[in-house]
């Protein structure tokens, strides 16, 4: 899914953030003795927010950052538009070192190329929906006519037509977050930073907004850093997922990699409760035909077996395997490459391949 050839739009290189008056001292000590978060707190009265994080997101990708509360997700993402200065390391946006920008350039970058959505919406209560959405444009001194036009287009995009002249307090939570999203999209930035945008919403509304955002994203192709504490959401939204713990990235990979090959017990615990039906593909659970036959089983005639592609997911395989004695044959360009037995299928659902 990832296009590793395309240039990285957002990249962090060995970023550290330590909060506290003695941050530099603490950083040195952590690097030397690899202290834990608690030890740093005790010895330096400093909090490790982000710990040696290097990630990169390619153009148009939705890159999810997943972790429990306090794991440093918000802190990390605020480095991208330099709301927070790193203690060490550097951040590149479209190849430009964010830390080296002059104040004017930084403001321009925030207003024009990065949009941000917040968990608590953080709308301005004294402004109408339209004026909230046009905020970034207003800050760049775009004239009223143009920005109203742009705002109205974006309002339509997030299905809020007719609400332009309302105040945020008159809107439901879900609608407010649409305003938040619209505000981030209004300046047509290349990059979206979304800090748990849907976490405060009811499950049903969250589901709806996730789908809507996926649709929008597919057509707009904005590089998105999507933060969530919910692995389900990360899997739904992300083309790649980075899992954070105590400020560190413990694993980065596609949803399938995370689910099928958790890097450690911490990730495994997360993954344990996740449904694998749409995450695990035939090529992961199948066994080679030779191997199948060497185990003493006889392959029935291929015409009598159901067949599937290597990229089909477990959900599809289950559909083929019910009411069927024979195993599913996996065909790649009309040559059989593997077999999925019912045992393998069940193991696959369980997550053990």
């Amino acid at each position: 899914m990832t296009d590793s050839n395309c240039a990285n739009v957002v990249e962090t290189r060995n970023v550290w953030k330590i909060f506290g008056d003695r941050a530099d001292e603490a950083l040195e000590a952590v690097r030397r003795d690899s202290l834990s978060k608690d030890e740093v707190l005790e010895r330096f009265d400093a909090v490790v927010g982000v710990r040696d994080v290097s990630i990169s997101a390619g153009a148009g990708e939705i890159f999810c950052i997943m972790g429990l509360s306090g794991s440093g997700k918000s802190t990390l993402v605020r480095h991208i538009n330099r709301l927070i200065e790193p203690t060490a390391g550097e951040i590149l946006v479209n190849g430009v070192n964010v830390g080296a920008l002059k104040p004017e350039e930084l403001l321009a970058m925030r207003a024009e190329s990065i949009g941000m959505v917040f968990q608590n919406m953080a709308l301005l209560p004294h402004r109408t929906v339209r004026d909230n959405i046009a905020f970034a444009l207003e800050l760049r001194n775009v004239d009223i006519f143009t920005r109203n036009n742009v705002a109205d287009k974006v309002i339509e995009l997030v299905s809020l037509k007719g609400y332009g002249d309302r105040y945020p307090s008159e809107l439901s939570g879900g609608m407010q977050q649409r305003v938040g999203l619209a505000r981030a999209l209004a300046a047509d930035p290349d990059i979206l930073l979304m800090d748990e945008p849907f976490s405060a919403l009811d499950p049903l509304i969250r589901r709806g907004l996730q789908d809507e955002f996926l649709e929008l994203s597919a057509s707009m192709k904005k590089t998105t850093l999507f933060i969530t504490h919910d692995l389900d959401e990360a899997i739904r939204m992300g083309s790649r997922i980075a899992i954070m713990k105590d400020g560190e990235i413990v694993q980065t990979g596609t949803p399938e990699e995370i689910v099928t090959k958790p890097a450690d017990d911490y990730v495994a615990d997360f993954v344990a409760g996740i449904s694998k039906l749409r995450l695990v593909y035939a090529h992961t659970v199948m066994i080679n035909i030779e191997e199948f036959e060497s185990e003493g089983s006889k392959l029935p005639a291929i015409e009598e077996c159901p067949w599937a592609h290597p990229e089909d997911d477990l959900d599809k395989l289950i559909g083929l395997a019910v009411n069927q004695e024979n195993p599913v044959i996996i065909m790649d360009d009309s040559t059989p490459v593997g077999v999925v037995t019912k045992d393998a299928l069940l193991r696959g659902i369980q997550g053990e391949t």
Partner: protein, 514 residues
């Protein structure tokens, strides 16, 4: 009944001697069966000595004070009885002193009896609290200890004799003592009793006398320039105390500034006068039908029909009783002072709201400005600006500006970090953050500040009439001087209506905005 013993054991352990009595009482207290009129007989007799032995210092203080007050009244009785005898030739004094002497002996008896009853009623009820504390912390006093009697003796020895002595003597007045100090300086003999009385039982003694400082004046020299001239005090003129010295230094300082920097004050006065002239011309210079109409319209637009009716009624009151011009005069002063308060207070408030250091510097200044009685502001105002409307406005501004600063700062500080962060994330620079986010969100608080400023200005403008600011306050001061109660009451009601009118309109306008 071993379980009963178990229950009583901690009580016995705590109380020590006479433990059974306390065990019974404490049990009754815990079961809420203690009689309402229960008294501790030992405490009734022993009073503070009992409390001291038991180590309960609260009860000790209560008992000690009761007995001391009774004793002092006895001493007073004897003092006035003796005075009656001493002044036997003056009948009216004898009558007065005998009356006092009698009432003090009655007071002594009543206080002693009621006090002892109260004490013994409180005794067990407070002692059980000590027991509860002792259960938690075993180092709390328990049992009976003779060692504590030593403390009682020392405290009594230190307090009782001077108190009784003070009560039995007429205290010397301050002037007598000053004379006596000088006599001692000249080397005259003064009896020990007289010296002791001045030291211990009158006004706090003047510990040190300071040589009288030079008199300072600012005459003109031959070129007409002002100069500083020091005149040493006359030979043999008496020394002064601290108060006189510092007061004179302050006077000298103010005198110096007013003489050599008068241009500064003249300039400020001129500015204020100009501003006031403009505002007054609006309020006073406009014929009353126009002003009244405009005021009613403004009230209607800002606060709705009900408030407008109230405003209309108030205006009619002012007009019918002949206060129209004076009320408009007062309003002009209020508006001028409020404008200055806002112009100064808003930026200061923003600064205080944003900077911890500014808060650290300005808050104590505001505290002082608000605690000093408003009358005191009149003095420096007169000193620097003489009398009239401009110093009145200045005193008003000093008095009314603090809430503007405070509430603006509060509003700015209340803006949530999240909202500010969002604005920054979209590229707001500091100025945009202030004008597009912080100030709009702080507006309700700022408006509350303006409301306060207007109300406080009004109350101060009335007081400022004392230094010639005129307006409604002037009628009241005049009425006060000539004891014209009726006029004063009418003007007072007028001021109250004026205040309520402004308050209603500004507040309603505020609410509407939210």
């Amino acid at each position: 009944m071993s379980s009963d013993d178990d229950i009583r054991k901690p009580f016995l352990e705590f109380a020590g001697p006479n433990g059974n009595y306390y065990a019974n009482v404490f049990l009754k207290i815990q079961k809420a069966t203690l009689s309402r009129t229960h008294l501790n007989p030992v405490a009734l007799v022993g009073s503070f000595v009992w409390a001291a032995l038991r180590g309960n210092w609260l009860l000790f203080t209560i008992g000690f004070v009761i007995d001391l007050v009774a004793a002092i009244n006895v001493a007073l009785h004897f003092k006035f009885a003796k005075a009656a005898v001493d002044n036997v030739d003056r009948a009216y004094l004898v009558e007065r002193y005998e009356g006092w002497s009698q009432s003090h002996i009655i007071a002594a008896v009543v206080i002693f009896i009621l006090g002892r009853l109260l004490f013994s009623w409180l005794a067990d009820r407070l002692y059980v609290i000590q027991y509860n504390r002792w259960r938690v912390n075993n180092s709390v006093n328990s049992g009976v200890s003779m060692a504590r009697l030593v403390i009682v003796t020392i405290v009594s020895a230190l307090i009782v004799p001077p108190m009784i002595y003070r009560a039995s003597q007429f205290s010397p007045d301050a002037r007598t003592c000053i004379k006596q100090d000088r006599a001692i300086d000249r080397g005259e003999e003064v009896s020990f009793k007289a010296r002791f009385d001045c030291f211990a039982i009158g006004e706090f003694p003047t510990l040190f006398w300071i040589e009288r400082p030079d008199q300072i004046s600012f005459p003109r020299d031959e070129n007409g320039e002002r100069i500083v001239q020091r005149t040493p005090p006359r030979e043999g003129s008496p020394p002064v105390n601290l108060n006189t010295l510092v007061a004179q230094k302050i006077d000298d300082g103010i005198g110096y500034v007013t003489v050599f920097y008068s241009f500064l004050f003249d300039e400020i006065t001129r500015l204020l006068r100009t501003m006031l002239t403009v505002i007054t011309s609006v309020f006073v210079g406009t014929p009353w039908p126009v002003t009244m109409g405009v005021l009613l319209f403004v009230a209607y637009r800002m606060a709705g029909i009900r408030t407008t009716i109230f405003v209309g009624a108030s205006l009619i009151y002012l007009a019918l009783f002949g206060f129209w011009q004076t009320a408009m005069d007062t309003l002009s002063l209020v508006v001028a002072a409020s404008i200055i308060c806002v112009v100064i207070g808003l930026p200061t408030g923003i600064w205080v709201g944003k900077s911890k250091r500014a808060q650290f510097i300005v808050t104590p200044i505001l505290d002082v400005m608000q605690t000093i009685p408003s009358f005191v502001y009149l003095l420096p105002a007169i000193a620097f600006f003489s009398i009239g409307k401009p110093p009145g406005i200045l005193a008003t501004v000093i008095f009314a500006a603090p809430p503007m600063v405070r509430l603006t700062a509060l509003g700015i500080r209340q803006v949530s970090e999240d909202t500010k962060e969002a604005a920054l994330a979209f590229g707001a620079n500091p100025r945009q953050l202030l004008t597009k986010v912080e100030l709009p969100l702080a507006l309700p608080s700022i408006m509350a500040g303006i409301n306060q400023v207007v109300m406080m200005s009004l109350s101060m403008v009335v007081i400022a009439a004392l230094i010639g600011a005129g307006g409604m306050g002037y009628i009241v001061t005049e009425a006060l001087e000539n004891t014209e109660t009726g006029r004063g009451v009418l003007a007072g009601v007028g001021i109250a209506l004026l205040a309520m009118m402004i308050d209603r309109v500004v507040q309603k306008a505020n609410l509407g905005r939210r």
